[in-house]
């Protein structure tokens, strides 16, 4: 059974990576693949979004599959499906090979309740409108960390190696590097080197989570994972895969506890903790005297589930509830931050922040790499939600990929025609930096690139004289606010690259009537 479980883990991990890599423009305006499949499977994301927004979305119902499976089989999702669980298993192997573990080695039973408190915090905060699920939901966490943290780093390393080999311009080596590069681009490498703000911190957090496996196998799954806690609670009374240790046969060797992935204590008999069990089958497969069986039974065979003290549960819930008014107090709620340009189709800001689970799918798929995670721009409640950073990438006129991949509808999927009329901001000239205004020379790069129907950037012609005394027509650009949609290509292409002479800010965005000022 253990091998069957491993095959399942590897297949799901491969599917996860495949879908993640496919979360990129591949030559068709429609992505065509359900790249958010794993996010849809998470009932934690579904429930917290329902609680925070007081609305049920069709996509949330998909996660009922996971709920139903957990009711009958316990945390089989954790043990057999979850990509982060599998990554944790793999890193855990490095620990297993070091010396000989003892029966208590790598066990921190006192930490087991932590994940339940995290879960309670997430759900209690969600009820009052602060949706933190995506920060620690293992699917969202993994997608964000890989897409924004690891993917740019891996791309960078591979490209540096291949490009160095190519630049050597040596027979044999350069063509080989070229061939490898061509093969990898569009399959495992991104089309262009991705660049993300906060790449390093986001990658480091994930690296720490993976590194914790060296302290205890599947440390995250055992002690921290809120989705694991949720599925554990759902599956507490599961009947299909209960671990049954025969007291008569048991020789008290402790092998089962040593190999247990979930710190579920099959030994001593009667102490098995159903909420911790990842249904990994290690205990049954390792037992030298076949004292352990895992089978469906209506009979409850002992409970070693951790007690969650009510006062701590209530305190956690209270802390979560009290934190909501605090995180929703701040500059970001008083006045819109000038960098807070949301992707087209984004819900109005308060709903957007409640609905977005910070998974990073939109940033991964963004054609121009313009969608970036926020840091302070939307307050703590909006940490790692997407904003368009025109200096890094603009919003491509004919593209709506971000709406196609958003798992919660925080970014609504707009028809292209509607998207092309959706204002996400407004371009403003800085005449003290703009080349025609400030330096009496023609430029016009912004006007050339403006894609808006009817042209949101136009020129006024003015007769001028250059430094050598020759008369010429100076073309001074200006913005037509009724037409400008804030796509940011003008800012992106402006030759004044440090502080562009035309910049987009979210004023005049059409998702807020109050901000439409022109």
């Amino acid at each position: 059974m253990k091998n069957l479980r491993r095959i399942s883990q590897i297949l799901f991990l491969a599917l996860f990576f495949f879908l993640l890599i496919q979360t990129e423009y591949k030559g068709s305006s429609e992505l065509g693949l359900p790249v958010k499949f794993f996010l849809d499977l998470s009932p934690l994301i579904a429930l917290s979004t329902i609680l925070a927004t007081h609305a049920v979305k069709a996509a949330s119902l998909f996660s009922l599959i996971t709920v139903v499976v957990s009711i009958f089989f316990g945390r089989v999702f954790c043990g057999w499906v979850c990509p982060l669980g599998t990554l944790n298993t793999i890193v855990g192997w490095f620990r297993m090979r070091k010396g000989k573990p003892t029966p208590t080695d790598g066990r921190f039973p006192r930490l087991r309740p932590v994940k339940y408190f995290i879960l309670v915090f997430i759900l209690a905060a969600a009820v009052f409108g602060w949706n933190t699920a995506g920060i620690l939901d293992p699917i969202s966490l993994t997608i964000r960390s890989l897409a924004i943290g690891y993917n740019p780093a891996v791309n960078r390393i591979v490209r540096v190696i291949l490009d160095s080999a190519y630049a050597l311009d040596m027979p044999g080596i350069s063509p080989a590097a070229d061939a490898v590069y061509s093969m990898m681009v569009g399959t495992v490498l991104a089309f262009e080197q991705p660049v993300f703000r906060q790449m390093i911190p986001i990658a480091l957090i994930f690296s720490v989570i993976l590194g914790l496996n060296l302290l205890a196998p599947r440390f995250w799954c055992r002690y921290l994972c809120p989705l694991g806690a949720m599925l554990g609670i759902i599956g507490t009374k599961q009947m299909m895969a209960r671990v049954d240790v025969s007291s008569e046969k048991c020789v008290k060797c402790g092998c089962c506890n040593r190999t247990c992935q979930g710190d579920a204590t099959p030994f001593p008999p009667g102490q098995w903790a159903s909420r911790e069990c990842l249904v990994c089958y290690n205990c049954r497969d390792v037992c030298p005297v076949t004292a352990i069986s895992i089978h469906p039974t209506m009979q409850r065979t002992g409970e070693g589930n951790v007690d969650l003290e009510r006062r701590w549960l209530l305190s956690t819930g209270a802390a979560a509830i009290l934190s909501v008014p605090i995180v929703t107090l701040g500059e970001h709620r008083e006045r819109v931050h000038p960098e807070l340009i949301r992707p087209p189709g984004a819900l109005p800001e308060t709903d957007f922040v409640k609905t977005c689970v910070k998974c990073g799918e939109c940033m991964k798929v963004c054609l121009t790499n313009g969608l970036q995670p926020t840091f302070h721009q939307a307050g703590l409640e909006g940490l790692w939600t997407p904003i368009l950073v025109p200096k890094l990438g603009y919003c491509e006129y004919h593209c709506n990929l971000c709406g196609q991949v958003c798992p919660t509808g925080a970014i609504q999927l707009l028809k292209i025609e509607k998207k092309q009329k959706t204002k996400i901001g407004l371009a403003t000239f800085d005449k003290s930096r703009c080349i025609p205004y400030a330096y009496n020379r023609n430029c016009g790069v912004c006007e050339e690139h403006c894609p808006a129907q009817g042209k949101a950037i136009r020129f006024t012609d003015e007769e001028s004289v250059d430094k050598r005394g020759r008369a010429f027509i100076l073309k001074k650009p200006y913005v037509i606010p009724q037409i400008c949609i804030g796509c940011g290509i003008c800012e992106n292409k402006c030759p004044v690259v440090d502080i562009p002479a035309i910049r987009v800010s979210p004023i005049n965005e059409s998702r807020h009537d109050a901000r439409l000022f022109l």
Partner: protein, 306 residues
Amino acid sequence: MTSRRDFLRILAAGAAGAMFPARRLGALTPPKAAPATFGVARGTDTAAIVRKAVELVGGMGSFVEEGDVVFVKPNISWDKKPEQAATTNPVVVETVVKLILEAGAKKIIVADNTCNDARRTYKRSGIKEAAEGAGAKVPFMEQRRFVSTNLGGTVMSDWEVYREVMEADKIINIPIAKHHGLSDVTLSMKNLMGLIGGRRDLLHQNLPECVVDLAAYFKPTLNILDSVRLLKANGPQGSTLKDVVELNTIAASTDPVRIDAFGISLFGDAIFSNDPAAFPHIQEAIKRGLGRSDFSGEGYMEVNLG
């Protein structure tokens, strides 16, 4: 988007860059025959008028030799459909590729350094599919394939040029005639901006000098001007289909000045003047002896195929 691998650019420039200028094979070699001819073909069958225009100036065989590597430069800059006339007509590209193959070329590369995302423009313009179908290679221009080159121009000196251009034997330039917000028109000379990389956004401050520098350096073997559809306003990418008129016209010439002068005549009152001499880049090009602006003079031939 931030440019990839600044580090590597230094590496490439330092280690290998010095070797590349010497490797330039044949783009500068003048065409075998340099006939003072100018061919114009009009008609609704686009492929036929492309063939006719090229035939009028001596046929592709007088420009491309057996075994040549040919770089074809259409305009693929914008994420627009062919009807919007912001990119070279795919039938024109396809026909030119076929003509070059028929003339015995070994390899044809069709590429452009685009303004919108190349994955989108190559597809939406229809050019990738058409050119590949006709037997050309249509790669995306990757940053690592640009090599620093001295263009020796009056304003442009060291600049990044796409490596395949440097290594090609011939360059065939197939611009589309369009209005341009800054320079009023964009024709054959400005189309060459798609052969270079680097900070192209800075060129707009000296646009006439820059495009003439490019024309003087690259000296395309043949220019074929697509004005099957003409973008007469809101160029270079256009706004609505109201900006487009159908002219069903193709012109071919080795002389870029003559081609651009002809292009200017197509716009009628959509631009401030139809006098080539009124355009700074034409003045500059004539000054440098790149060609002549009386396109309808000696060697002018026009055929209307209906």
